[in-house]
Amino acid sequence: MKIAVQAHDFDTAAEIAALHKNNAQVGAVAIFIGTVRDMNEGTGVARMTLEHYPGMTEKALTAIAEQAGQRWSIFDCTIIHRVGALAPTEQIVFVGVASAHRAEAFAACEFMMDYLKTQAPFWKKEDTPLGARWVDARSVDDAAVARWAAAPTAASTKCST
């Protein structure tokens, strides 16, 4: 398991390779990458700044990864989240999961992102033509995380890679 909170960019290919190298039991790697958009709520975004709660952030991300590991049969996972100033098109977050088959990798990856969006202490501030503004939390994110409580065996269907 790798958890990182960092200002610098990450190398997607290297992170994917690290998830399955030296483990011939891995048959699936699922990843999610979040990037900075140049538009939000109908207004252009020139730049965003990500603030976080040092100490709690790493604990929260570790807890999210551990929950995924308890819930699904996975070999390894990685969460990298950037902080500081970011421009449109830059990468913000990487979540990757390695498992034997795709169902567990897809489900655990989505689960970790949904929990990260609502449980990890990060806050986005956008620079727009109308001035700087803090991004509001979205109710759709709360709904996304709530469905995992309602469907604990979402990935129990067996399938091969």
Binding site: K59, P121, K124, V135
Partner: protein
């Protein structure tokens, strides 16, 4: 008892404060009681801490609820709903 309080993001800007050390009256032993104590400072503090359903709290770096206990030496944080990812 003395605790440390951290404020983040829009709340930090509104209050003009990012961290403080506070000696609590004996009856303040929960997150809710601390919120009421801070609201009693008036002005922007009252606006931020009274009836703000969207205010979140953590105690010792773990998400907390209104009745979560606070102990001597606790690190309590207040912040708006998170928006990472």
């Amino acid at each position: 008892m003395t605790i440390q309080i951290l404020y983040f993001a829009s709340l930090r800007e509104k209050l003009g404060c990012n961290v403080e050390s506070l000696s609590l009256p004996a009856q303040v032993t929960t997150v809710q009681a601390l919120r009421e104590l801070l609201a009693a400072r008036g002005g922007v503090w009252q606006e931020a801490f009274v009836d703000s359903a969207r205010l979140r709290a953590a105690v010792d770096q773990t998400m907390a609820q209104a009745q979560t206990p606070i102990h001597a030496g606790s690190e309590v944080a207040f912040f708006p709903p998170v928006t990472g990812g």
